[in-house]
């Protein structure tokens, strides 16, 4: 790993002031550090935000669950409050990577990285999440913009993610047996206003599958998806799965998710 200057910030103001075009914020480091070791990324300054207390913790109100950016996957997985309000969100967290990754990795880090196969982005899309940064609030559908791309500006820091509590929801994924990243994952959430189907792993960026969402909004049952056709156009194709296979898996896992709601 190439050397860098390590800074530990105590508050958001200090952290964002240190940020430059050649810096990165460090939360759990589960992607940033391996990427730097593999030579995929290098920075002059690493700004550790782990000690900023304001960024940690879980708050549940009547309609929302708000999770601080540096809250670890294990904390979300084991939180009784999250389990009660949105149990699918805690089981999603429980299925990320492995126990050691869950002991360090954070929700803010996961969504800032926007890996096309990561779990949390699908939750943000399905659960109408609002991403709170140090300067604004962005809805999830405007936050994830492409492969490893988000609408975050340089030096902008995620503070928390606010999820809307659904009537029903479930996340089902076909995990890569080695990494447990989703080969395909579908997060279905039902609200009074309609249904969302956040799909991860299938395309270069997480998306809300409108065909599935519309069919489920009319009839929330897995049989409503029987005649839906999912196009393989734009789907990822790699050593793990072809585009056609992924397209089929999107439908299958959407049905599984509905059945498990």
């Amino acid at each position: 790993m190439k050397t860098f200057n390590y800074h530990s910030s105590k508050d958001v103001k200090e952290a964002t002031k240190l940020a430059s075009s050649n810096s990165a914020f460090l939360a759990g480091g589960m992607t940033t550090l391996p990427s730097m070791k593999l030579g995929l990324a290098s920075y002059k300054d690493i700004i550790d935000i782990k000690r900023i207390k304001k960024l940690s913790g879980i708050k549940v109100s009547g309609k929302t669950v708000t999770i601080g950016a540096i809250t670890k996957h294990a904390e979300v997985a084991h939180s009784k409050e999250v389990k009660k309000a949105i149990s699918s969100l805690s089981s999603l967290a429980e299925g990320i990577g492995d126990p050691q990754v869950r002991n360090k990795g954070t929700i803010g880090g996961s969504i800032a990285n926007n890996d096309p196969s990561a779990d949390y982005p699908s939750a943000c899309i399905a659960l109408n999440a609002i991403i709170h940064t140090n300067s604004r609030k962005v809805s999830a559908d405007k936050f994830f913009t492409g492969m490893f791309e988000t609408s975050l500006k340089k030096g902008e820091l995620i503070e928390a993610v606010e999820f809307q509590i659904p009537e029903k929801s479930c996340y089902q994924k076909y995990p890569n047996p080695a990494s447990r990243y989703a080969i395909v994952g579908v997060y279905v959430a039902k609200y009074k206003s309609g249904v969302n189907a956040g799909v991860t792993g299938a395309k270069s960026c997480v998306y809300n599958d409108k065909n599935i969402a519309d069919a489920l909004s009319k009839n929330f049952s897995s049989s409503a998806l029987d005649n839906i056709k999912i196009s393989s156009s734009g789907m990822n194709s790699d050593i793990h799965a072809s585009a056609e296979y992924r397209a089929n898996m999107v439908k299958i896992f959407a049905k599984k998710a509905v059945d498990a709601c």
């Binding site: 480091g29 690493i46 492995d98 050691q100």
Partner: protein, 153 residues
């Protein structure tokens, strides 16, 4: 350079290290605690698992500077008065290792599991050890070792 203060296996240490020093390097090269192994060096294989403030993490993917003030336990810290930890005893008795490269990480990870769950099922043990790769044993005896340790801890 950054000054890093840690408590490692009950002993306070304070060392000046380069900013990009990861915990596995700090343990092996600065403190000479070579029981913690480095396999993939990118947090996939689990050979480098240690406990930080009571929780298992992969020491290859944690900056020493980031952990300033923490308590670290490595495989060397498990022995008390020359006696092996029940998990180590169980790995020995059940042949939970062959080449031994993955063993320090396996043992540290399995202890963290038993700290959470007193009597895990085979499935829970296998799920928990997702992040620890063994290329010798086929895991069967590792699971048997964790079960035996669970009955004794």
């Amino acid at each position: 350079m950054k000054k890093v203060n840690l408590e490692v296996n009950g002993k306070k240490v304070s060392k000046e290290v380069a900013d990009h020093t990861v915990l596995s390097v700090f343990l092996r090269e600065v403190l000479n605690l070579t029981g913690t192994h480095v396999g993939c060096d990118t947090s996939q294989c689990g050979a480098c698992v240690v406990h930080v403030d009571g929780k298992s993490i992969k020491s290859c993917t944690a900056l020493a500077a980031d952990l300033d003030g923490s308590k670290v336990t490595t495989i060397e810290g498990l022995v008390t008065n020359g006696k092996m930890h029940p998990m180590q005893e169980a790995f020995k008795k059940q042949h939970g290792l062959q080449c031994g490269f993955c063993t320090p990480g396996m043992v540290m990870s399995a202890i963290d599991l038993l700290n959470h769950k007193k009597n895990p099922t085979d499935k829970e043990i296998r799920d928990w050890l997702e992040g620890n790769i063994c290329r010798c044993t086929g895991y069967q005896n590792i699971v048997a070792a964790v079960k035996e340790a669970a009955s004794k801890m």
